[in-house]
């Protein structure tokens, strides 16, 4: 076991951090000023400028791990493994739109991975190429308002074959990214065969957002935030017709595809969350040092020392487990890492929310308003405890692994695995 980053990772950490310090942090205000000027659902030009710059420095598509089977000169990432990319994701996560600068933002990352692995040549040419070039953005339409989507077999949108086309009908929500004017295509999950075996009913299909019948009903606020220009949409799919070739991989293979996409996405979210927690801890500490109450710096009120100490401890533990999960994905695959991924999916947002809540408290009225970005980060990370399956589902999965050891093998040796 070795807790030092490899020289390659260190090099990337330095480059990404330097880029953040030199170009991203100093432009946060620019971004906000431009955004205020051009309207909620437009993209501040600074973002595209920064993307060009990052691309020119080779800090681009860092998220896409090497894949001998599917990599081609045209379609390949920067060659970083999940474990190598994870700390970079944290660094980017310190600014809400930081990941996008490096073309590493959700849900594009997941969609690119899916297309890279399972897309046909035509699908790649049409969608993967511009996505990897950062020319367009994309969405993933999975969750539905009318069913408990944490149990994905509940998904009800229908995808029905009709000649050379599929006809799609259904209602989706929490379709993130749909608000962005650059968002051109969505991957839609739905049922092609309701009579098939439980895990073979679903398929995934590519739907250009300008297809007739795709109706954006409205943008959903998260707490008071619209998360513009990204946005979370409620989308009606009303007799949407797309060519049959838009189906990914084949009918009934929706689950298979979904399982592949979840692992890396969760790692990325967790690492970004850790980055956000680092920012909150920094802001909290600076704030506590800078303010006096009842005759001494608030930092010296001892309850705050305890909170700072706990914050740092929780943060370090969570980061390590996330890095381990990333590393396991590289070495034993998504499936072998599934418990660890479930663990960080629960642990990272909880940790960050606790730190953010304390940071809000330390900032007084400034904490809940927009001045320090804390309330907004809280709202956005709170959503992570619900997205991709609520905590309860993941804890249940971990518990079942725990039980399985003894249920299936009552003679399971005492802690053979304890120190593995």
């Amino acid at each position: 076991m070795d807790f030092e980053y490899s020289p390659k990772t260190k090099d990337y950490i330095e480059r990404v951090d330097a880029f953040m310090q030199a170009h991203v942090f100093p432009n946060v205000e620019t971004y906000e000023a431009q955004h205020a000027e051009i309207g909620r659902w437009a993209v501040p030009p600074i973002l595209e400028q920064l993307k060009e710059k990052a691309k020119s420095e080779g800090l681009w598509n860092l998220f896409l791990p090497p894949n001998a089977e599917h990599d081609t000169p045209e379609y390949q990432g920067a060659g970083l493994t999940n474990a190598e990319y994870a700390p970079l994701s944290e660094l980017m996560g310190r600014v809400e739109w930081g990941s996008e600068v490096f073309n590493c933002s959700a849900p594009d990352t997941g969609n690119m991975e899916v297309l890279h692995r399972y897309g046909s040549e035509a699908q790649k040419a049409q969608y993967l190429r511009p996505l990897m070039a950062g020319e367009i953005r994309s969405a993933f339409l999975m969750t539905e308002p009318l069913v408990a989507s944490s149990d994905a077999t509940n998904i009800e949108t229908s995808i029905t074959r009709d000649g050379d086309e599929y006809v799609i009908n259904g209602r989706k929500w929490w379709s993130s990214g749909v608000g962005d004017p650059r968002c051109k295509v969505a991957i839609v999950m739905g049922k092609t065969d309701p009579s098939a075996a439980r895990h073979q009913q679903q398929s995934q299909i590519l739907v250009p957002l300008d297809t007739p019948g795709v109706k954006i009903l409205r943008m959903l606020p998260v707490f008071g935030y619209d998360d513009a220009p990204h946005g979370h949409a409620e989308v009606l799919l009303d007799n949407v017709r797309v060519p049959a070739d838009n189906l990914i991989l084949g009918e009934g293979r929706g689950f298979e595809i979904a399982q592949g996409r979840l692992g890396p996405g969760r790692i990325h979210h967790c690492m970004r969350t850790i980055g956000a927690a680092e920012m909150a801890l920094e802001k909290m500490t600076r704030r506590l040092l800078s303010r006096l109450a009842f005759g001494k710096p608030v930092a010296e009120h001892s309850i705050w020392e305890q909170r700072l100490g706990e914050a740092r401890t929780d943060l370090e533990m969570t980061r390590l487990l996330t890095l381990k999960a990333a590393s396991m994905m590289d070495t034993v695959g998504n499936k072998g890492a599934k418990d660890e991924i479930a663990m960080i999916k629960v642990a990272a947002p909880r940790m960050a929310l606790k730190i953010l809540d304390d940071a809000i408290q330390a900032h007084g009225g400034g904490g809940v308003t927009s001045d320090f970005g804390l309330a907004r980060a809280y709202a956005s990370i709170r959503t992570l405890r619900l997205a991709d399956g609520p905590d309860e589902v993941h804890l249940r999965a971990i518990a079942r692994s725990e039980m399985k050891k003894y249920r299936e093998n009552p003679n399971y040796p005492t802690h053979a695995l304890a120190a593995e």
């Binding site: 969750t143 308002p145 408990a148 989507s149 944490s150 149990d151 509940n154 929500w173 929490w174 959903l220 606020p221 998260v222 707490f223 008071g224 935030y225 619209d226 303010r291 006096l292 109450a293 009842f294 608030v298 009120h301 309850i303 809000i360 408290q361 007084g364 009225g365 400034g366 904490g367 809940v368 308003t369 927009s370 309330a375 907004r376 809280y378 709202a379 709170r382 959503t383 405890r385 619900l386 997205a387 609520p390 905590d391 309860e392 589902v393 804890l395 249940r396």
Partner: protein, 434 residues
């Protein structure tokens, strides 16, 4: 002020009778009925009228009409200004009784205002009633009591930790017959309302006096030149408009010398008047929010299935429901007891009880709402349930009127004073009001 033991941990018998008094029951029932029969339909109409208004800082045409009509009805039925003690006898509703009523008022966002019992006007009216000059009463108290104008209380400042009220730095200097005020305030709740005409403003007039005698309170009409309302403060992305929590700069604002309340350096003294009751009312309203969240949690848990079982049987949800119910009942008793303590011991003596509930209630209500959000999945953070909105407003309460930490200091120090007999720091109480 020598500190007296607030009877915490002691068996002061009077504090254990938490029944509503018989006298108050007719009012309580009347208020309940009025909300159901008048306020609720009015609120529905009011909301419908406001649906597509373009300026969030205004009222849509017709909105104020329906509101005024309901206010007139309340006035006609005698449901008006009941928060205020009788001007002659000094007697008013007991805090305990008001607490029961506040729980009802909390059930509709316009209930308090319809009966002219809404913050921050209530505190301002109380202050004017008790310490205002005849002229000040004529000019400001009268229209406030009549529900013709609204008001704000300008205390909190962005640059300093306002939980230690000694830090207030907006300065007022006498220049001839005028006070000249310079400074910056934020979270001035209610100042966004077009009907808000007057602000009671906390300022530093006497920087050389002892720490607790430096502050004064001054009446500042909101249209005075130099009062610049910059923006509303968002709370988790919401402006809470048109009420608003405004960010205001005082730029050489001139008001007549007579606009000072009570006298120079007496700002803290006035603050004592306004702190207790308001906090309790907020806490009672918070309980209403917690009840609502629990109700939503149970209904959702029973109506939705995953993995072949009701959600309520998954994820430890039943225990979460139980813990929520236990917290709610415990909080209810504590709030009522604090209200009773104010009645029996007086606001000053009851302050430790008040701090206890202030530190206890919003934090725990946030937790209950958060659990309710969780069982709703993504719906929980959206506008399809009131939960996200409720969360943000309860979360803000943990900072308003003194952050939790300050109230824990008050309670903790009361505990240590049992052994030392020391006095309390009076600055530890006066803070910004919502």
């Amino acid at each position: 002020m020598p500190y007296t033991d607030p009877n915490i941990g002691e068996m002061n018998e009077d504090l254990f009778d938490l029944r509503m008094s018989e006298d108050a029951r007719p009012l309580f029932e009347h208020v309940k009925r009025f909300i159901e029969e008048t306020v609720e339909p009015m609120y529905a109409e009011f909301s419908a009228l406001g649906k597509d208004k373009s300026d969030i800082w205004s009222y849509a045409p017709g909105q104020l009409d329906v509101l005024e009509k309901a206010k007139d009805k309340a006035k006609a039925e005698g449901l008006w200004n009941f928060f205020l003690p009788d001007a002659e006898t000094g007697e008013g509703l007991k805090n305990l009784d008001y607490a029961y009523i506040a729980a009802e008022l909390g059930k509709n966002p316009l209930a308090s205002e319809t009966m002219n019992c809404s913050a921050p006007d209530t505190g301002n009216m109380e202050v004017l009633e008790r310490v205002g000059t005849a002229e000040q009463k004529e000019r400001w108290l009268k229209p406030l009591l009549a529900g013709e104008i609204r008001s704000a209380f300008a205390m909190t400042e962005p640059g300093i930790p306002s939980s230690d009220a000694k830090n207030v730095s907006t300065e007022a200097k006498l220049d001839g017959d005028d006070w000249v005020i310079n400074g910056e305030k934020f979270y001035i709740s209610g100042a966004g309302d077009p009907r808000c005409k007057i602000m009671i403003t906390m300022v530093k007039t006497s920087p050389d006096a002892p720490a607790h005698k430096q502050q004064s309170q001054i009446l500042v009409p909101i249209d005075t030149p130099g009062v610049k309302i910059l923006d509303g403060m968002q709370v988790f992305g919401n402006y809470d408009a048109p009420h608003g929590h405004m960010h205001i700069v005082f730029d050489n604002v001139r008001v007549p010398k007579e606009n000072i309340l009570l006298g120079e350096g007496r700002g803290f003294e006035i603050s004592q008047l306004r702190l207790g009751p308001g906090r309790i009312h907020h806490c009672m309203r918070s309980l209403g929010a917690a009840e609502k969240a629990l109700e939503l949690m149970v209904i959702r848990g029973m109506g939705r299935q995953a993995f072949g079982r009701d959600l309520i049987k998954l994820g430890g949800n039943l225990e979460k429901v139980s813990r929520a119910r236990i917290e709610i009942e415990a909080m209810r008793m504590m709030v009522l007891k604090a209200a009773k303590a104010m009645d029996v011991l007086g606001n000053a003596e009851a302050r430790v009880w008040i701090s206890m509930v202030k530190a206890m209630v919003p934090e725990r209500v946030c937790k209950i709402i958060d659990e309710a959000i969780q069982i709703h999945g993504a719906t929980g953070v959206s506008q399809w349930t009131p939960l996200a909105q409720m969360y943000t407003s309860q979360r803000t309460l943990r900072l308003a009127d003194g952050p939790d930490e300050v109230h824990h200091m008050v309670v903790g120090r009361a505990e240590t004073r049992k052994y030392t007999g020391d006095e309390e720091d009076p600055a530890m109480a006066a803070v910004w009001r919502k």
